[in-house]
Symmetry: D4
Amino acid sequence: METQTRQILEGVRNGSISVDEALMKMKSEPFEELGYAKPDLHRAVRQGYPEVIYGEGKTPEQIVGITRSLTKNGCERVIITRLSKQAAGEVAESLSISYDEVSRIAYTGNIPEPDGIGQIVIATGGTSDIPAAEEAAITAELLGNRVLRLYDVGVSGIHRLLAHRELIMSASVIIAAAGMEGALASVIGGLADCPVIALPTSVGYGASFGGLAALLSMLNSCANGVCTVNIDNGFGAGYLAAMINHMEVRK
Amino acid sequence: METQTRQILEGVRNGSISVDEALMKMKSEPFEELGYAKPDLHRAVRQGYPEVIYGEGKTPEQIVGITRSLTKNGCERVIITRLSKQAAGEVAESLSISYDEVSRIAYTGNIPEPDGIGQIVIATGGTSDIPAAEEAAITAELLGNRVLRLYDVGVSGIHRLLAHRELIMSASVIIAAAGMEGALASVIGGLADCPVIALPTSVGYGASFGGLAALLSMLNSCANGVCTVNIDNGFGAGYLAAMINHMEVRK
Amino acid sequence: METQTRQILEGVRNGSISVDEALMKMKSEPFEELGYAKPDLHRAVRQGYPEVIYGEGKTPEQIVGITRSLTKNGCERVIITRLSKQAAGEVAESLSISYDEVSRIAYTGNIPEPDGIGQIVIATGGTSDIPAAEEAAITAELLGNRVLRLYDVGVSGIHRLLAHRELIMSASVIIAAAGMEGALASVIGGLADCPVIALPTSVGYGASFGGLAALLSMLNSCANGVCTVNIDNGFGAGYLAAMINHMEVRK
Amino acid sequence: METQTRQILEGVRNGSISVDEALMKMKSEPFEELGYAKPDLHRAVRQGYPEVIYGEGKTPEQIVGITRSLTKNGCERVIITRLSKQAAGEVAESLSISYDEVSRIAYTGNIPEPDGIGQIVIATGGTSDIPAAEEAAITAELLGNRVLRLYDVGVSGIHRLLAHRELIMSASVIIAAAGMEGALASVIGGLADCPVIALPTSVGYGASFGGLAALLSMLNSCANGVCTVNIDNGFGAGYLAAMINHMEVRK
Amino acid sequence: METQTRQILEGVRNGSISVDEALMKMKSEPFEELGYAKPDLHRAVRQGYPEVIYGEGKTPEQIVGITRSLTKNGCERVIITRLSKQAAGEVAESLSISYDEVSRIAYTGNIPEPDGIGQIVIATGGTSDIPAAEEAAITAELLGNRVLRLYDVGVSGIHRLLAHRELIMSASVIIAAAGMEGALASVIGGLADCPVIALPTSVGYGASFGGLAALLSMLNSCANGVCTVNIDNGFGAGYLAAMINHMEVRK
Amino acid sequence: METQTRQILEGVRNGSISVDEALMKMKSEPFEELGYAKPDLHRAVRQGYPEVIYGEGKTPEQIVGITRSLTKNGCERVIITRLSKQAAGEVAESLSISYDEVSRIAYTGNIPEPDGIGQIVIATGGTSDIPAAEEAAITAELLGNRVLRLYDVGVSGIHRLLAHRELIMSASVIIAAAGMEGALASVIGGLADCPVIALPTSVGYGASFGGLAALLSMLNSCANGVCTVNIDNGFGAGYLAAMINHMEVRK
Amino acid sequence: METQTRQILEGVRNGSISVDEALMKMKSEPFEELGYAKPDLHRAVRQGYPEVIYGEGKTPEQIVGITRSLTKNGCERVIITRLSKQAAGEVAESLSISYDEVSRIAYTGNIPEPDGIGQIVIATGGTSDIPAAEEAAITAELLGNRVLRLYDVGVSGIHRLLAHRELIMSASVIIAAAGMEGALASVIGGLADCPVIALPTSVGYGASFGGLAALLSMLNSCANGVCTVNIDNGFGAGYLAAMINHMEVRK
Amino acid sequence: METQTRQILEGVRNGSISVDEALMKMKSEPFEELGYAKPDLHRAVRQGYPEVIYGEGKTPEQIVGITRSLTKNGCERVIITRLSKQAAGEVAESLSISYDEVSRIAYTGNIPEPDGIGQIVIATGGTSDIPAAEEAAITAELLGNRVLRLYDVGVSGIHRLLAHRELIMSASVIIAAAGMEGALASVIGGLADCPVIALPTSVGYGASFGGLAALLSMLNSCANGVCTVNIDNGFGAGYLAAMINHMEVRK
């Protein structure tokens, strides 16, 4: 940032840039105005990641428009989350995308080679937690991570989890996805010595209150190194895990 | 009940009891009126257990009065819960009681010989859960049960719990007391094949909301054979455990 | 468990098992990997009960797959809960199952002869609570219990309940299912001298908040010997009742 | 109201009152301005009852000031609720009041002869609910009602309540005060055929959430003829009961 | 009750009834067993009102069955609440009923002549509150009351309410139905000197949380003589109003 | 008001109006009775604005009826909010209206020339907040304000917002519409020195709880000059903004 | 902002400022670093108001330090809110301040001459709401507004409010402070045709839940032109009212 | 773990360890039994960090006992969190500890040289958030991290935050501590391209509900790479930040 400003200032000093041009340059922002959205064309550069579109509540036309704007400006890979199967079909008529039904993620381009520190383990308490877990898994894979899925290892049958204790011990980052009582995060947090991202899901009934029980349980985890994302926010969990798994690469 | 009524009716038939006397007898109830309370003098007989006084919110004078009324009517053992140390001191000036500071339970008479089916295991997630657990433990002991304490075995260090797996497998009933995320009940529920009573405690801070997180977590337990009592209700957990542990004796 | 480990160790000592084989054996767990689920093949043995599949959120194909895996491994009876009528029809094309529409429970095999301590009484406050109550009832029957249904005995017409006082007094375990204000559990808890499992239902409107009013009411019951399960968790109530009703048999 | 306006208008017509005087008169309101409060001097007339001061959060000086203003304007009886013992002592130095410690009610003048339709029954679930119940009872007595107290008849010992079934059947209005699970209102509502005012109290712990459990339970009562007032609002319950008990007198 | 028992006892004394017959008579209860419901055949007598069936969650067949059982046993008027238009059509094929679409109430027999103390005023804040208000109005009319409807007089246009001040002052009982902020009950409570039944409705959006805002507002009303029923519980409000409006008749 | 009353009084004094006529006039209110609604015909005059009909829960017939009544009484512009596309179609068959699909607002007459103090800026956090924002925008425009839309400037890409800092600094009033974490209001509140109306939207998932997270966030804003309206209440925000933007005009 | 940047750029062009100096100038921020706080020295200029310190949770030393830093930098008037009497005493030893006990506001300098558009009316429902109302009143006065207090005009005695209808009609902005059911805001909102700021207070008990009932009531107000601030946030209400009352001055 | 088991198995094979000894060894766990707690002596080794004692709710004697047990078993550094000043004084009489009053952390040994990937930035919204932030800061320093404090940079004065944009861009991990509306996490999350740990604090009043508003706000953050810990859980935030900042070192 400073470098850019310095260049402009030096341009002003040596007369190659007028004061008005300088003012304009310093205010101009790297995003494009589409009316209904302002795709952030430099974020990919700024944060070192593909651009992500939250698909829920956007029309297929809007998604196509934003994706094209991003692609036109040099973004190699666009990830679209929370895209219904039907909307994905409509988008696919205009754009070349891959679509995963379980996670409801679409993307342009290919899944890159994994290049992170280690392996991200994604565990679920039950089979119903798989959609949220897959949103995290595909996200992490699209961001260049090797992902190991460990599904249906809920704490009520603790031996299923303990049978994989070594996998857990060797992970770089772990995402623990669970609904109902959400105890999986605490148990994994106690077994592992790496960051654990707790992903509460809305799976359950009655007093689970749409994932609130799991969320509160995870926030109150007595294990160290555990943090929590929003209910069913698989994308957020996968994104953060990818970030942590690339700590050394980023430096 | 039927027997009593039959006796009265037969008295009416054979003329030994007048109709008015019969009407009176059939309405008279086995409780004594103290003005501020109606001690239930036949409950001990009716339910096969000592009488219990909830001490919180009662003055030492009221507690002494109710206890005397119960004792006078043949109740051998009176249990007083939620009694502060200071109130216990005042009660002890008028009555011969034993008092346990941790559980805040006072009682008249002695702890009976255990005679239940097996052994009640009481586990806690941390040391701060011990007061609620002790309320359960002392209650169960006063109701004739052998109690095994397994404290500070929270799920964030699962090996501490697993080291005692055989104890858990051999229990007759288990009480799992935990605050914070309350995951202990689910893990024990998965390990054990006996009834597990989940006892949420108000231990925690922030989003534990005074035990709500643990309560919701326990209600949503995905393990079979788990039920829940109110937050910090050690007495209720101990009483129910005692009842279950005397199932064969009761028949 | 110890016996198995001892056998392996003795095999190592006498040379019939190599160290590597022993390591492998000690880690191998008795569950089968289906990709989307890990049916726990030894739980039936470990906990003395049929295996249970939570049907909600699973496809008919997944249910058929898990049931076959369990049956192939010697599980005589599989219980599938929360199965919609339509899904049950699809499952029935591949598997021989019985299906009960009210409770939405399907199962393989027959209902066994009851062999518990006594009789489980299941009471409801109104007719709308019957589906949850039937989930409990069928579950208990499938686990070998005699069940007595006492429906529509809510506390606003207390004489309906009191007319059955002797049934209540003679029960081994009672399940009290109620929505709205959930007062049934407390009244029954005061009448009975056996464990009472409070089953809040989501029946009600307005400030019942989907069963929350009944749940809180039941958790705060002033009667002794009462515990609570999750809202509408008829299966959990029936399973726990069955466990308690087999206390003497299990020893 | 109409009469007053008519008189003014007739005064205008016959010239005894000028238009400006008439405008002024029609705006003047029968309350006195004390700066910190506007005692409503005509409410006693308008609603047929003594004036009531909510004592909490007012200084003894303010209470004395408002009471004097009311008395000076012809109000025979002033009721002060939620008055701490200490504040009552300070008020008593300036005013002649009676004070009841349990209900924390003070009042000027005497308790009137009861003149309502019948008798108001006030029942409590336990001894801890007595302060709220007494606030209702003293209020009703000060408003001219005969009150029958039926304390400690909670539903977990239903025979204590049933023993008084005839009292309940004969009441004109019933106030059912209970904390914890608040089931008393439903049971009484089913037994009685008169209006039942449910008075939730903040008695309880854990998931009673300061009376919320009892409040929700009472709002969801499946009995007919039940309504609810705010938690611990004994005054409101007593006032409404008095109003109902004077229905025929008022006509 | 006492009379009946006395007759039985005298029969026993004079030998016209055997002890066993007496025992049987004293236990027999006046309700009929339909399997899915226990219609309370004597409640009409016991409480002086028609029998009411809560229609929601019952099949047309069940409603027809219960209604026939009640009618057969002498109940002149049956009220069915929360009956959808479609269900009403199906019931009408088997039974002669009147049906009101707005209130969703059906009933057998005719609306009786009003005979209460005075007139019940039912006010609503807006037009969307009318269905709940009509449930109350029709209920009250079916229970023998004259009802005056005062709709769309919400407090944000206070002059609409004040224009009807005299109606309000002259009412015997008032029902104030409002959603959103529920302020209507307080304002009417301040204007009237008769009991006011606050009926919160689920009308609103956003932070009205399905009627919770109105409910809390009404429970906290600073006006005297106000009580509250459950959200959208028009029937409960109408029933209680009818009870209060018949206070003098009942004595 | 005073003028009207004075005129009546003077009429009484000079005999041109009888006392009874005067009484009648003083009570008559300027609203028309339609049975289902009481359109307030003088509000437009009283508050200086067009009349507004809340369309949700009203039938097209009712909307047409109320609109005609208002128009007939001289109301030039009627605004109908929360009108579905289908209902708008039906209304349009009877009335000449304009309809905007995004905001779901219909209106009679034209959008007036803006005449407020300055310009109202309406910002949204994302594209999904646009419907609520447009409800505010169209409302403000219909009330005579110039509106500048600044959409998709959420705080997670703060440079998008900062790029428009001058617009924000120059606004007369700002409406900040955001769901999810609702942080937009605080950031704008810190940048601007004009009133900021925070408009929480129900956009989000999981722990956004239908807009509750944004609502609480906005209520707790640490910026000065910020107030909050109900979740998704775009109309309320637009109306208040218009009122503030006409402060000098009104004097 | 642009002007400043332009001046710097022109200085660079004409050589009077070096590139490094320009870079430094453009980054330098007008706040002073005290370690524990960053007083914003230019905010007074930027927002046209005195600087405000939130006193709660700050030590008297910190308050003195921040105030001195602000004064030293040219801030004429510093307002300190939420200052306990004791803390005010300690601050007064080091600084010359005025302190108001009811509102708990301290300030340096004098109360300025009012110069706003009109008069701000501050109404309260009861006498207990006065502290919050006074926080708003003193704040508004310190910001140059004429304030009219209208206390104890709650809606349960609507004539007290209506007696002041003309004051309400003539206000420039109104603040409606109320606890309990918070209905005051809606009624005033309907009477007034100026912006109404609803100020919920924590006054109440039971189901008022610390002001939540009033807050929800106010957010759901059906009156137009009403917005809401946080519970007990008198400062926020007063600040916003002052801003609105200076709309024409600011242009 | 495998290595240890392999050694034991090889000992069995070669006869140096008997089967019973092997069984015993394999069950023995590296924790010491103190009765009231089970210090986990190998956790330091297992997780690569000092042992931590949660001080709240433990007596000074218990803290001294646990610390000594840990030290005796080779733990070089013990961290005690949530220790009151008074308790710290009592502990200091028996142990050589350092104590920090603001964060309420005590520790044995010295603060180690920082050796992580980069620098941890800890930002707060206001000065009242400093205690929670310091708990995080001291924790991170004790775990070998360089920490940069950026206090009082709340979003309502966004320029204070933007002035430090480069620090934020260069951080390895950021902890954003804020109460009230908690918007800081989202804004920082948008500026930074490293993991951001959101730390909600209980600072605030009214509708902040003890930190709930900030917690919900943070969970709903629309910025990528943000996760959340429990309210006021500075230790948890610091611990996780330390873990992430040592990602490359750990491999």
